[in-house]
């Protein structure tokens, strides 16, 4: 029996008849190159088995939240006639999401997840046209020059908009992260989304490329309010806050 690549592949994929397999088994015992080909194939397949890992924890939640969001009325279609087909509605919803930055999509997905666990749903607030000075001044620090200064890396004290706050820069997974803390709650930036709990209030917002996440404690409650700013998906910011032991 001659060595035959296709026959080896058929053998390995269990596609030979019983009789053919018996003949090939005999051939394998006598043929070093075919034997080696079969052994290498099996070793490679065995190695690949190690890569059959599950999806990361939390990914199913993220997917479910983003689909839930996509299934709702898209932002730009609010108030439009509601007699489209289900397929049209889905395509429109997907377009609405696709046209938003990925960070916003993830933020929205994170919001849905948080809203489920919280006592309040999303509240779209009526805000002034620009961010409060406390927020704007801290956001402005997210530049390489300022953030990498020794003073900010060590932590600096400021008074912005009549509010005393401490600001410090960190590097988290290679990304500059600015953290502001205060004994008073921070006013929320424009177009932020709020989710409230019984003892604290969390909000998220985006500002150009930057994402913000804040947790406010009531004045006099003893805890500190904080918010952080970073060029990363807003959904990751709560994890970063926990990692930095801010919350």
């Amino acid at each position: 029996m001659a060595c035959d690549q296709q026959r080896i592949e058929a053998f390995l994929h269990g596609e030979l008849s019983d009789a053919e397999e018996e003949v090939f088994d005999e051939h394998l015992l006598a043929c070093e190159s075919c034997w080696q080909a079969v052994q290498e194939h099996r070793a490679g397949r065995q190695a690949i088995e190690r890569l059959r890992v599950p999806a990361p924890l939390g990914l199913a939640d993220r997917i479910a939240a983003s689909i839930d969001l996509a299934s709702r009325q898209p932002f730009e279609d609010r108030g439009s006639p509601g007699h489209r087909s289900q397929g049209q509605h889905r395509r429109s919803a997907h377009r609405a999401i696709s046209h938003h930055p990925r960070r916003l999509i993830t933020a929205a997905a994170a919001f849905v997840m948080i809203a489920v666990g919280g006592t309040l749903g999303w509240v779209l607030n009526h805000h002034p046209a620009s961010d409060p000075p406390q927020i704007a001044r801290v956001v402005a620090m997210d530049t390489p020059t300022v953030a990498n200064s020794a003073a900010l890396r060590a932590g600096e004290h400021f008074n912005f908009g009549g509010q005393a706050l401490d600001v410090r820069s960190y590097r988290v997974e290679g990304i500059t992260t600015i953290v502001a803390t205060s004994t008073n709650p921070f006013p929320m930036p424009v177009r932020s989304h709020l989710v409230g709990g019984s003892s604290s209030t969390a909000w998220m917002a985006t500002h150009g490329k930057l994402a913000m996440y804040g947790v406010n404690q009531p004045t006099g409650a003893g805890g500190k309010s904080m918010f952080l700013v970073a060029d990363m998906p807003v959904a990751r910011l709560p994890q970063v806050a926990a990692q930095l032991q801010l919350i």
Partner: protein, 181 residues
């Protein structure tokens, strides 16, 4: 555990999630071994599900798993074309804090290192062999399904898988020799 959000979803979204989430592990594996990065893979999976949801009304009859894999592959190809035209930023070093890690259990660490080694070896294969292996071995698809997705014959798929397995074994064996194992 039921994903948060599944119970909130309305009828069509819920039906979609119930039909597609059981394949999440498979889609993630395909995404990871085409994107080569966990964060990009997660984004790719999310985009796959959003695209699939938009087209769910027109999905009839064919395997949901194969349908999702095809969407994921097409998105990965288009993302790869976009990235090839883009300047890639070099990551900055983490100089203050490292990502949080749980205390390692020896077995888990060894298994993780071994997975990384196989992942690196897999990434060294020619793309056609790597894709065939990912789609057959890690996505659990038939050679016929993979042939449809890659636009080649079933025999070609089997041949690519076979050559890929042998090459992978060779790469790993050479590493073992290099490390005196």
């Amino acid at each position: 555990m039921r994903p948060i959000g599944l119970d909130r979803a309305d009828g069509s979204a819920k039906a979609f999630l119930e039909a597609t989430l059981p394949h999440l592990d498979i889609i993630y594996r395909v995404a990871f071994h085409t994107a080569h990065d966990h964060h990009r893979a997660e984004d790719l999976v999310q985009e796959t599900y959003l695209r699939a949801y938009a087209a769910f009304a027109g999905h009839h009859g064919t395997s949901t798993r194969a349908w999702l894999v095809t969407i994921c592959l097409n998105l990965a190809r288009s993302e790869s074309r976009r990235r090839s035209r883009r300047v890639v930023e070099a990551p900055l070093p983490d100089d203050d804090i490292a990502p949080a890690a749980n205390p390692p259990v020896t077995d888990l660490v060894i298994a993780g290192l071994e997975r990384e080694r196989v992942t690196r070896a897999l990434a060294q294969l020619p793309e056609e062999q790597r894709l065939a292996i990912v789609l057959m071995d890690l996505a659990g698809q038939t050679a016929a399904e993979v042939a449809g997705q890659l636009g080649c014959s079933r025999n070609t798929v089997l041949s690519r898988v076979h050559r890929g397995h042998r090459r992978l074994a060779g790469i790993l064996a050479r590493e073992d020799v290099d490390h005196g194992l």
